[in-house]
Structure formats: structure tokens, C-alpha cells
């Protein structure tokens, strides 16, 4: 007897809806066992992870703050991935956006620059992110270079460029030579939405981006083109859609969004440019994009959910003294189950009896 995965004739919509529930159920079961082995009360632990962060406005704000860059980047990436363009370098575009926007903040520091500063920073950051993303896109279209490799490698270039700037020309002169710019002026800082909290304008922008992406994909010809080129390249060619043009377009848009997310993070929660402004947002966003099934609303939920596990993980560390590694195991198990269950949408389990008569004869 053999258990095999068999491709379904068509995707199962029931499973598509149920699969995340199964995944979460399996995660909870696995984690309950793990917590019990660790000698922690599983109910209290799960409460710390999932419920506690949702019970006060502080944690809710923090979830939104954490999810903002993830969602913005993931939306851009989903456009790329839908069009079969593999932008792995959002991290680099995020950093370049942060650098470009910071340039205005650094140059206007201490001057009486007006309210134009922040919008200008946003525009420049988005433009820089887009241009940076166009490098791998053009290399792909013109020379056939793998965009996966080139976009990934440009991450390190961006990282080192930022490093150079904050250790050299942009270093805070009063900063004892430490690698950071001075704190941005108030006009160069993203406004907060709630007094005393950390929720900022960026979260609103992220919501607008989600809405715009939903409209683009659902209601415009361009969105249709993106999906057709990705799903059926041959059909797209017959339909006269230009796949190369779409690679350029989706890379530019996702670069712009990553760049915008970069400057929002720097001019928002961080407040100055320094190395390590991104704890891997550009890469985590890839997970968010797929967890959200490349669907704008799905990405919003996935981003918030991943943020919840980060915040919950910290609260579990504090309240339950659960080591950080367990949080990482927890996130890993969750992603594993989500992706594993997703394979049931397109595949199903089947028992195969290679030699049924002999097998039944022995029993």
C-alpha cells in the first residue's frame, strides 16, 4: 500500500477556504504538545501569543506598525510574482528608498525647510526604489540575466552603500563617530496618528496601497494583463500582451513601494538613518506575499498575522519566559503547515495498492 499525491483535475475551492484553518489547528496542536514538553501551560502560552496582543490598543498599534512595511512591500512583490517576474531584491529597494529619502532630510537638517520636505522624501524614495528595481528588470529583458540573482545581489550593494554613507559623509558630527545620521527634523518625520503611540501615517498609506492593488488587479485591463502573462504566457502572447513590458512595469512598481516603505520606516519609527534599519523586511515580505496568496486582501491579513506572531512572541518571552527560539519554531511550524495544507488545493492524497490481490491474500 502506498500513499501518493495526485494532481486534482481542478483546484478545490473548499480546501482553499478550509486549508488555513486546518493549518492553524495543526499548529495549535503541535505547539500545545511542545509547550507541555517545555513545562509551560499551553493555554497561557497560546493566550500570550494570540490573545494578549489583541486586547489593548498599545499592542494593536504595534502590530499595525510592524505590518506596515511588510504589507507595502508584499503588495509590490505580488504584482511581480503574478506576472512571473521574480523580484527577490525588495530588501535592497527598501534600503535605497530609505537612503534617497534620507538625503533630503540630511541636507535640510537645521534649516527652516517647510512642509514640502516629507512629501519630497516620499517621492524621491519611491523613484529611487523604482530605478533600483529597474536594473535587474532591464538586465532580464535586454540580456536575459536571471532577475532572481541580480535583484538579490543588489541587496548587498544597497546595504553596503547605506553603510558607507552613515559611516562617512552623512555621519552625525555630534555622534562620537558612531554610524548614524543625526535625528531628522520634525518636518522630515512621519506624523503620528495617536498621541503617545507609535502608529503613524505610513499605516494609512499601506491601506491605500492595498486598495489600489485590489482595484488594479480586479478592475483594470493592466491587472488582467499581469495575471494572464503570469498564468498563461502563450495565451498572453497571442493576446498581444508584451511580457517584457510587464516585467519592467511590475519591477518598477514593486521597487517604488519598497522604497516608499523604506523611507516611511526611517522617517517614522526609527527617526534617523543607520545600518540595520530593516530586520529583513524585504525577505519576510516574500513570505507575506505567498501567505496572502498574492491577493491584496490576503496580503493585508497575512501581514497583520505575521506581525501578531512577532508581538505575541515578545509577550510570551516576557510573561512566560518562553525562549525566543520557541517563537521562531512556532513561526516555522505555522508556515510549514500553511504551505503544506495549500498543496491540498491542487493535489489530493490517494492510496495506491500496487498489487491488491497479493496484498489481500496475505491477510
Amino acid at each position: 500500500m502506498q500513499l501518493v499525491l495526485e494532481k486534482r483535475a481542478e483546484r478545490s475551492n473548499t480546501i482553499a477556504l478550509v486549508s488555513p484553518l486546518i493549518a492553524i489547528g495543526l499548529t495549535i496542536v503541535t505547539m500545545t504538545i511542545l509547550f507541555a514538553i517545555l513545562g509551560k501551560n499551553p493555554l497561557l502560552a497560546l493566550h500570550a501569543y494570540f490573545i494578549a496582543p489583541l486586547t489593548d490598543s498599545y499592542s494593536l498599534q504595534e502590530i499595525a506598525v510592524k505590518a506596515t512595511p511588510l504589507v507595502m512591500i508584499a503588495i509590490g512583490l505580488s504584482l511581480c510574482y503574478l506576472a512571473n517576474a521574480w523580484n527577490i531584491g525588495a530588501e535592497g529597494q527598501f534600503l535605497i528608498g530609505a537612503v534617497a529619502g534620507s538625503w533630503i532630510a540630511v541636507k535640510t537638517q537645521g534649516t527652516d525647510a517647510g512642509a514640502w520636505v516629507l512629501p519630497a522624501m516620499f517621492v524621491l524614495a519611491a523613484a529611487a526604489g523604482a530605478l533600483y528595481a529597474l536594473i535587474p528588470a532591464i538586465c532580464k529583458v535586454k540580456f536575459g540575466a536571471s532577475e532572481i540573482l541580480t535583484s538579490l545581489m543588489l541587496v548587498y550593494v544597497a546595504d553596503l552603500f547605506l553603510d558607507y554613507l552613515v559611516r562617512g559623509p552623512w555621519r552625525d558630527p555630534q555622534g562620537f563617530n558612531f554610524p548614524t545620521t543625526a535625528e531628522f527634523d520634525p518636518v522630515a518625520t512621519v506624523p503620528l496618528l495617536i498621541e503617545g503611540g507609535r502608529l503613524h501615517l505610513g499605516s494609512i498609506i499601506a491601506l491605500l496601497v492595498v486598495a489600489a492593488a485590489a482595484i488594479l488587479l480586479g478592475r483594470t485591463i493592466k491587472g488582467f494583463e499581469i495575471r494572464v502573462v503570469g498564468a498563461a504566457p502563450r495565451a498572453a502572447r497571442f493576446g498581444g500582451f508584451n511580457a517584457n513590458q510587464l516585467i519592467i512595469l511590475t519591477f518598477a512598481v514593486s521597487g517604488a513601494l519598497a522604497g516608499l516603505a523604506g523611507i516611511i520606516e526611517v522617517a517614522g519609527p526609527v527617526g534617523h538613518l543607520q545600518p540595520g534599519i530593516s530586520p529583513g523586511y524585504g525577505f519576510t515580505a516574500i513570505i507575506v506575499a505567498f501567505l496572502g496568496r498574492l491577493n491584496p486582501l490576503g496580503i493585508l491579513i497575512a501581514g497583520l498575522f505575521l506581525a501578531l506572531t512577532f508581538i505575541g512572541g515578545e509577550q510570551a518571552q516576557i510573561a512566560m519566559k518562553i525562549p525566543l527560539d520557541v517563537t521562531k519554531v512556532f513561526q516555522g511550524i505555522l508556515l510549514f503547515y500553511v504551505l503544506a495544507c495549500d498543496s491540498l488545493i491542487l493535489y489530493r492524497f490517494k492510496l495506491v495498492f500496487p498489487n491488491r490481490q497479493v496484498a489481500s491474500g496475505t491477510h
Binding site: 488555513p20 484553518l21 492553524i24 489547528g25 495549535i28 499551553p42 493555554l43 497561557l44 497560546l46 493566550h47 494570540f50 490573545i51 489583541l54 498599545y58 504595534e62 506598525v65 510592524k66 553603510d163 558607507y164 559611516r167 562617512g168 555621519r171 562620537f176 563617530n177 558612531f178 554610524p179 548614524t180 535625528e183 503617545g196 507609535r198 520606516e265 517614522g268 519609527p269 526609527v270 527617526g271 534617523h272 543607520q274 540595520g276 534599519i277 530593516s278 530586520p279 491579513i301 497575512a302 497583520l304 498575522f305 501578531l308 512577532f310 508581538i311 515578545e314 509577550q315 518571552q317 516576557i318 510573561a319 519566559k321 525562549p323 525566543l324 527560539d325
Partner: protein
């Protein structure tokens, strides 16, 4: 998806009885760690300090830590989480937590903060650090004595003042033994990356260095030096088990006494915002046993340690000559001023290299 999680978790909760952990009347003390605790290195030493604290005052306090907190936008949240969990004294143990700590400190004036290795303070925010350059000076003496090739290998982390002053102190000491001593410097641009550190050690040895010094955290360089039959110094922690025939000494971070002192002050209600920059005399760090060297070198090291502890020897005694051959302005009387060392961004004469970013 999130809703379903809530429903499931809520169901589970209803099924069982949840009792909130009883809040004892102990003082809550929080720690933010840069790395995982592991079993050696920067964060490990801070955690040893925390453990010493628990051992000493465990009946009066309760400690909590968050490990592996990145020095970016997440830091402020992590610190605030500790505040919200009721911690009244919070130690943030890496330079990159400076601005986040300051922001949270301004928001919670009744909570006290202690930030390690930074320079921004407030009414409720102290800073603390150690004069590791004193230890580096002793290492420089030993290195110059032990090197046959006259070339030292130095693995730098980042070209910040703490690291640069360490290199300068090393060379100034080595020059008193061998005026022609050479140093090869490789910037690993990381605090902890065993692969990179090992590569750096190999490259330095290939360039003729026979004593390896490091300002990075892992024992990788020690292991490479051990394989190649060279000498090396540990960093932050005791690393002799990685090179029993290799380690000459190691600068050991010993935060325990400081943590105990500050928590006692907090308990007594006498905590004040202060700037502590402790040297060998204040036990902010210690030297590991001097091993694998002849007795005369050991004596030289011990004498230097005693002289520095007693304040008779200052590694940056004027005149200090910069790389450009000009004398560095002497702002501290007989020695460079603390501020000059804390902000050091030049090499001294005799270093045949260019400081990155200069």
C-alpha cells in the same frame, strides 16, 4: 485567518481555567539583549551579570530579558514591552539601543533605564561602559613580545571609536617593545560571524601575522590560530577551550558588580542618572589568566595591569602622535581626555593602513 485563530484559541481558553500569574511585590528588572545568549560572547557576558544579580538579590527582584532584539525599529517596541510588563529598571545592552531607549525613557519618566556603551543620557537614563582600551594595551605588550615575525593581525568589527581606540592602544603598547611592529587590520563589518572571522584570521596569517587579535565575538579566529600554531587573544569571554595552547589572555566583560550596585541603589531609592565608564580599577572588565607565555612576559603583563589599575600608567599618555605625524592635541592634561578617546577616529603613527570613512 486571524479570526479563526482567535476563535480556536478562545475556545481552548474557555475550556481551561486561566489564572493570571500572581504579581509579587518584587522589583522587576528587565534586560534587552542583542544576540541569543549562547555560551560565550557579548550577550552571554551580560547574562552572566544578570545571573550574578539574581544570585545576590534574587529574593528582592525578578528579572526578565528579551534576547535577539535587532537594533532597528523593533528595539523601541521591545523596550516598551518590558516597561508595560512592570519592569522599573531596564538595562539595554548594545549601542544601537541608544535612541530607542531615550525615546521610551522620555515617555516613562518613572522608569529608570541603563544604556550600555552609548553617550545620550536623561534624568532617568544612565549610561555605562568599560575602558577596554586598557586591556588592549596589555595585550599589545604581550603581542609584541610573543611575535617573531613582528606582524600582528587585528580583526576589527566596525570602525567606531571603541574599536579604533583599542587598535591604537594595542599599537602604542607594542611600539614600546618593538618600535617597528606592524599591524594588519581586516574589518569584518560584523560583531559575530564565525565564517567571516575565520576567513579574516586565515588572511591575516597568510600575510605574515603570528599573533591574532580580535574585536569580534566568536572563537573562530582562536580556532584558526590554533590550527596554524599561532597565538591569539580571546574577546568578551574566556576562550581558552578553543585554543588551550593558543590563547594568551582575553578581555572578560564582567557586568555583575555594576548590575548589583545599580539594582541596590534602585531598591534603596537612591538611583540617579549617571555616566559610568569603568576601568580595571572598577572591575567593569577583567583579564583572563596570562597563559602560553614565558614568565618574563607574564610578569610584564601583570605589572602593566597593576600600574593601569593603580592609575600610574595611561595607555594614551601624551604626546600621542597621529598617523599624519602631527601631535594630537592633549586635552586631558598628561593624557588624552576621556572625550577624545570616546570619540577617537584617527590612527596613531605606525599603523600602515587607512581608517575606513576617513
Amino acid at each position: 485567518m486571524r479570526k479563526s485563530v482567535l476563535a480556536l484559541a478562545a475556545g481552548l481558553l474557555l475550556a481551561g481555567s486561566v489564572s493570571a500569574a500572581s504579581a509579587a511585590d518584587k522589583l522587576k528588572v528587565g534586560f534587552i539583549y542583542l544576540g541569543p545568549i549562547g555560551d560565550l560572547g557579548w550577550t552571554y557576558q551580560h547574562d552572566l551579570g544578570r545571573q550574578a544579580l539574581v544570585k545576590e538579590l534574587g529574593d528582592k527582584i525578578e528579572t526578565t530579558y528579551l534576547e535577539n532584539v535587532p537594533e532597528g525599529p523593533d528595539a523601541e517596541r521591545a523596550i516598551e514591552q518590558l516597561v508595560r510588563a512592570g519592569n522599573k529598571l531596564i538595562f539595554t545592552t548594545s549601542f544601537g539601543y541608544m535612541d530607542p531607549t531615550l525615546k521610551v525613557a522620555k515617555k516613562y519618566p518613572n522608569v529608570h533605564f541603563e544604556h550600555s556603551t552609548g553617550y545620550k543620557r536623561d534624568k532617568n537614563m544612565s549610561t555605562y561602559s568599560a575602558k577596554w582600551y586598557q586591556g588592549r594595551y596589555i595585550q599589545g605588550l604581550i603581542a609584541a613580545k610573543m611575535s617573531k615575525s613582528g606582524v600582528l593581525g587585528y580583526i576589527g568589527s566596525f570602525p567606531i571609536p571603541e574599536v579604533v581606540s583599542g587598535i591604537n592602544a594595542t599599537i602604542l603598547a607594542a611600539q614600546t617593545i618593538n618600535p617597528n611592529i606592524k599591524v594588519k587590520i581586516i574589518w569584518a563589518n560584523t560583531w559575530f560571524d564565525p565564517g567571516k572571522e575565520a576567513d579574516a584570521a586565515k588572511a591575516l596569517i597568510d600575510q605574515g601575522a603570528d599573533v591574532i587579535m580580535q574585536h569580534t565575538d566568536s572563537p573562530a579566529a582562536m580556532q584558526i590560530a590554533s590550527e596554524r600554531g599561532k597565538f591569539a587573544f580571546g574577546q568578551d569571554s574566556e576562550m581558552i577551550k578553543f585554543g588551550p595552547k593558543t590563547q594568551l589572555t582575553s578581555i572578560l566583560d564582567t557586568w555583575g558588580p555594576y548590575y548589583i550596585e545599580r539594582v541596590k541603589a534602585e531598591l534603596a531609592g537612591t538611583w540617579k542618572s549617571e555616566d559610568t565608564w569603568g576601568g580595571l580599577d572598577s572591575h567593569m572588565f577583567a583579564m583572563a589568566p596570562y597563559t602560553n607565555m614565558p614568565d618574563d612576559v607574564k610578569k610584564l603583563a601583570e605589572d602593566a595591569q597593576a600600574a593601569i589599575t593603580a592609575g600610574k600608567l595611561h595607555p594614551f599618555k601624551c604626546p600621542v602622535i597621529g598617523q599624519d605625524g602631527k601631535e594630537v592635541e592633549c586635552k586631558g592634561g598628561a593624557n588624552l581626555a576621556d572625550g577624545q578617546i570616546l570619540g577617537m577616529n584617527f590612527y596613531v603613527k605606525g599603523i600602515d593602513d587607512k581608517l575606513p570613512g576617513k
